[in-house]
Symmetry: C2
Subunit: 348 residues, 2 copies
């Protein structure tokens, strides 16, 4: 009913008293989306404290978590460029190319699970992946712990962040601290201001785009506080995109669940800051957001969006570009005699 | 005379009224060193303004200045780790290894010239080098300009930073903005506080180390506001170090001047923050600062420093570790349709 109403409003077929149409659209939107919380979300089994956040920030930017000393978490999840690296797929250890496009770290704490295939249940599980992946940071947990233990300032910071633990400097706690920092990376956007009641926060075109986003069915998957980031769907519900965009060799969530139904299934992408995080899709093959919207229409909805519709939806997506919390670049502890030395060697 | 006096003080052979020995040492030091200035130094042909600094900060952290989109200035001159990358020599485009250890960017505006061989007269000349070097960022000026011009927020920022220019987005202005930001990276240290009159800013051992640093002759080359960073000297004035530390193939300043006298000649390293910037020497072959001090003694002074002397000098060098100015990590402009795409390809 509301959907029809917003469609009629869009078409100019009905008119309502000033303010009423905004309220109708907002009411409909609030059934589907939620504004960002004003505080750092609680995460499972990891109480977030200022000390943990500080430690996590240092670790997030520390290239010494990689075997080569070249890459930090921030290399691929760059806070300067929308929380990702703007590459098709990331370049890692030994100039190897990663298998999938790096997702943004911004607001990622609000995702149901992490990675394109949801194989990590939360950010602390996720953080351990790239550090160990041979094509990314190529390190080993014991070596990471050795690196951290070799620097007294880190040992002290772990002690503060995990005050009741006898041996706080562990790979697990490193991941928890990184999760704590990442949980602070929320980016309130004009869409939040609008959901919270500021009628002027979205332009007329963005409101039209939002109405289309809901009416056409995009919001069936891209919903909730992160406008996506939960639920798993085949890429190509209606029509598989070409092999360039959906390479046959990467079967998505199938690798996690080993059930045939999960072939080419991916977590619905969270769309906050999507205008900052080209290129798009797990393959990183599409650079233009409006083009990506069109592909989604065809592949997921069986809907050939016309140029104007794609343009309006893209305008709405622009309202999801948020404001970064200020991050003071950390000053990291200096290596000591016992710090393992970086190795650029590529191991088999 | 002062040198003898400080030697006698060191040896405990004479005693002076309380405060007098500190004053003598300070007077001697002030003839050789200078505390950091309290304001950003003026640089040649490049008036430093807040707009230029802001733009330069963005550029300094922007990985899109590299052909691959992987490396920024900050990759090798990492502000989190003493302004360098803590690698023997940097890893660059295509996982190639650079020829020499990356020097710190901190306080580098105070150096007489840039690079180990002084081949760039200032930071704006220096900034253009690594961006174009095939083993580093592997980019081309025209492509860099195309990248910057493709992003309206950059065009606007260049307009503000270079307000009287018709076409401000140029490779040259990029370098000037980077120089302006780098000029702000001064790190006041305990040694400055002590030079400025705070007797307690150096420990007794650091004062002894300072006296040795002057008496043994280290300060003959490592002097001035940057405790080095000016003057060119053969590595191995007295005795050439082994080929591991001084590889025969790299003839230093000879490559710049082509005069035989400049074979294996390098700019005396600036020593501020030296405790943070292992490994040492242009070859990056020595990780331990005290060991590096010992090598300098033998190679440059013909002086076998005993362990205690090397330890005290190293303690003094620790007083050159300064405080970083807080740097808020920038939020960079988003790419547009016309932004050149990153290329990880290695060109011949």
């Amino acid at each position: 009913m509301k959907t029809m109403l917003s469609a009629l409003l869009l078409a100019g077929a009905v008119s309502l008293p000033a303010g009423a149409s905004a309220d109708v659209l907002r009411d409909q939107a609030l059934e589907i989306f939620k504004p960002l919380p004003s505080t750092v979300p609680a995460v499972k089994d990891n109480r977030i404290t200022p000390d943990k956040i500080d430690l996590g920030k240092a670790l997030f930017f520390d290239t010494r978590l990689s075997a080569s000393g070249v890459f930090s978490c921030n290399s691929c999840h760059n806070l300067a460029t929308g929380g990702d690296d703007n590459l098709e797929t990331s370049i890692g250890h030994g100039w190897q190319k990663g298998p999938r496009n790096a997702p943004t770290v911004l607001n990622s704490v609000l995702n149901e699970a992490q990675f394109w295939d949801g194989r990590a249940e939360d950010l602390k599980a996720q953080a351990k992946g790239p550090i160990q992946a041979g094509v990314e940071m190529a390190n080993k947990p014991a070596l990471v712990e050795g690196t951290l233990k070799s620097m007294p300032a880190y040992v002290e910071a772990f002690g503060k962040a995990f005050p009741n633990e006898a041996a706080p400097v562990t790979f697990d706690n490193m991941a928890k601290a990184i999760e704590a920092f990442e949980a602070t990376l929320l980016t309130p956007a004009p869409f939040d201001a609008w959901l919270n009641g500021d009628d002027e926060a979205l332009s007329a075109e963005q409101k039209q785009g939002l109405a289309l986003f809901m009416d056409k069915g995009c919001a069936a998957c891209h919903s909730g506080v992160n406008v996506g980031g939960h639920g798993y769907y085949p890429f190509g519900v209606v029509e598989k995109p070409g092999a360039n965009i959906l390479p046959a060799g990467d079967k998505g969530r199938f690798a996690v669940t080993k059930t045939a139904d999960d072939e080419y299934v991916y977590r619905a992408s969270p769309l906050r800051n999507i205008a900052l995080t080209a290129p798009y899709f797990h393959s990183g093959k599409v650079w233009d957001l409006q083009q990506a919207v069109g592909i989604m229409g065809t592949a997921q909805l069986g809907e050939e969006l016309d140029e104007e519709e794609a343009r309006l939806i893209t305008a709405f997506l622009g309202s999801l570009t948020g404001t970064m919390p200020p991050v003071i670049y950390p000053v990291l502890p200096a290596e000591t005699e016992t710090t393992p030395r970086p190795s650029a060697a590529i191991l088999p």
